[in-house]
């Protein structure tokens, strides 16, 4: 595709609910990143994939967060038993070499 596509754009979840956020990277991009951006702050690294391999998950804040990219293209970030502090914009970025292209993000609000 022309850009990185994320869905849904907005998600409201009740506390304790599980959510799944989807990222469609630019076709052929090997590297895929997830970042979390809390209100008024800069994006913070969550995890990195090279093709289907998750090479770095050091930024995932707890074991409630899980990411996968089974075929090396589309990625899903899953958050189990959501809590209010999970409310943020979740940004996906892809790269072929160096230089990220970010998607528009999914704004998650946990109520």
């Amino acid at each position: 595709g022309a850009g990185v596509s994320q869905s849904p754009r907005y998600k409201v979840a009740k506390r304790g609910q599980d959510v799944a956020l989807r990222c469609d990277p630019i076709s052929g991009h090997v590297s895929l990143f997830w970042y979390q951006q809390a209100l008024g702050q800069g994006p913070e690294f969550l995890t990195y994939f090279q093709n289907e391999a998750q090479l770095d998950k050091s930024g995932l804040p707890s074991d409630r967060f899980f990411a996968e990219r089974p075929e090396g293209s589309v990625s899903t970030l899953k958050i189990q038993r959501t809590q209010q502090e999970d409310s943020a914009v979740y940004l996906c970025a892809s790269s072929q070499g160096y230089g990220y292209t970010f998607g528009s993000g999914t704004r998650l609000t946990v109520v």
Binding site: F33, G40, G42, Y48, Q50, L91, Y98, G99, F102, G105
Partner: protein, 114 residues
């Protein structure tokens, strides 16, 4: 522990004047620095970068300066235009290789007044 800091949360400047955005970092391992621009409801878009082997990089109206000894970088926008109104993020990484994660500052909101 914030490794990249943007101490000015906001900046207001008149159209045609210079905008100067500042960024400080603490991690000596950072050797590649980037600036991103973000409009509301959009993802950050890459603006300009600089490697630690340089102290200046220029691209049109945008210039980034790096002072390694002070662990400080700045972004100059000359002349500022109303379309430059956005949030600007400074980011840093250890190396330029694909897969290197970025550490972002908290952002500076720029308002360019016509």
């Amino acid at each position: 522990d914030q490794q990249v800091k943007q101490n000015s949360p906001s900046l207001s400047v008149q159209e045609g004047r210079i905008s100067i955005l500042n960024c400080d970092y603490t991690n000596s391992m950072f050797d590649y620095f980037l600036w991103y621009k973000k409009y509301p409801a959009e993802g950050p878009t890459f603006l300009i970068s600089i490697s630690s082997i340089k102290d200046k990089n220029e691209d049109g109206r945008f210039t980034v300066f790096l002072n390694k000894s002070a662990k400080h970088l700045s972004l100059h926008i000359v002349p500022s235009q109303p379309g430059d109104s956005a949030v600007y993020f400074c980011a840093a990484s250890e190396g330029k290789a694909a897969g290197n994660k970025l550490t972002f500052g908290g952002g500076t909101r720029v308002l360019v007044k016509p």
